[in-house]
Symmetry: C2
Subunit: 126 residues, 2 copies
């Protein structure tokens, strides 16, 4: 069965709470994660919540990366949704783990869009 | 165990291929899904790929909704990530199922950010 996409659901616990609340850091590290993974960024949105919490999304040519932070819990939830085989989302996962100084983490990989057949995995056109 | 977020991973097969390739339709139906679920839209990005395929993301006060379409396969992958208990993401799921004319679908609900303790589920501040 071929899959159109792969999706990493990443959770980071025990992160640096100050970093999780800084929109500049979240933007910089999320874009760095995109670049390190080999993905192509197209659009980015970063939103700061009051009194705390940041959401960041980067639409990439290969789908999207997203992060939501809860500084009050030292927690961040990250989604790395990619298609094609030119991107290594685990590089993004590792980068964010380090950048956010997570003390523990989990990651689950889910294949999205499982289709019958065994042909080559299609690429999302740029 | 309380969870900070809930995340529906939705897959729609056998959709109307023409609709899946129309950025205006994807934008309209994704925003309608946000509204119907009771979420608060903050930012939206819709990107058209060549020769086909659309990505749409709406950052909401309660996290994000995202859609990626593969018109050539009649397939769409949707993520409905929400926090707080004022949003019903299944209304968004049902709306998109109908709007995209999906012939079949799957949905998996994942709890994000499971934390120890049994206090009230925190809301993401607006």
């Amino acid at each position: 069965m071929q899959a159109l996409g792969r999706h990493l659901l990443c959770e980071y616990h025990g992160c640096d709470r100050e970093l999780l609340n800084r929109t500049d850091v979240i933007r910089t590290e999320l874009v760095a994660a995109v670049t390190l993974s080999g993905a192509t960024p197209l659009h980015e949105v970063v939103h700061a919540f009051s009194p705390h919490g940041v959401t960041g999304v980067v639409v990439i040519a290969e789908s999207h990366f997203a992060i939501h932070t809860w500084p009050e819990y030292g927690f961040a939830a990250v989604d790395l949704f990619t298609c094609g085989d030119s991107v290594d989302p685990y590089r993004a996962f590792e980068h964010l783990r380090s950048a956010l100084r997570a003390q523990s983490h989990s990651v689950v990989e889910i294949r999205r869009g499982l289709l019958p057949g065994s042909g080559p995995m299609p690429h999302k056109p740029g």
